[in-house]
Symmetry: C2
Subunit: 114 residues, 2 copies
């Protein structure tokens, strides 16, 4: 029976990964950890990412309670995203992940094994 990882899995690791997994989510969170940003600012700060993907990931992160969307309800629209209180609990985890990733990149670069 094919089971999508995105379904609510009872495995805590899967649950966590389903929140940050997505081609650009790590990067988005990284940018926002320096403070709130507008949609277009975020987009310009990650040029390789398309607007479509940005918005899809933002919506998922909002749905998961990690980000908050502030809409000024003005014309032209002005929307700002920031990390929620709950989202901040995720940041130290990302830092742990990042620290290991840095070591791994060095290792891969050095061509080590074992």
């Amino acid at each position: 029976m094919p089971v999508s990882k995105k379904e609510i899995s009872p495995c805590p690791i899967d649950a966590m990964l389903s929140v940050i997994d997505g081609r650009w989510k790590g990067t988005i969170l990284w940018r926002l950890s320096n403070g709130p940003m507008r949609t277009s600012e975020l987009r310009r700060s990650i040029p390789e990412m398309t607007e479509r993907m940005l918005i899809r990931h933002l919506q998922e992160l909002v749905r998961d309670g990690i980000l908050v969307r502030h809409d000024e309800r003005s014309v032209p629209p002005c929307v700002r995203y920031s990390i929620s209180k709950y989202g901040w609990t995720l940041v130290p985890v990302l830092e742990t992940i990042c620290a290991w990733g840095r070591v791994h990149l060095k290792r891969v670069g050095a061509g080590a094994r074992g």
Copy 2:
């Protein structure tokens, strides 16, 4: 330019996630953290997973230096997998991820938001 996440990304978060990302890798690592196991033991311990996926994930984990493959070169074959010295550096990271995941599951279960 479509860029696969599996390519060597200079982002440490992506680098780390590319190692543990895969439908069953977390579970496999979890099982092996209790000690080495044979291929068929692993397979039986995770019944929802197919043999094909097990082997594909094992090979990736070996390639990334996380697991070690011990082949008894006997007939019938007997292959054991264990977490490498390097792989053990990953385990505390997985524990951090797991801890957050547990909190998240509770939160999702409770239907909280914000």
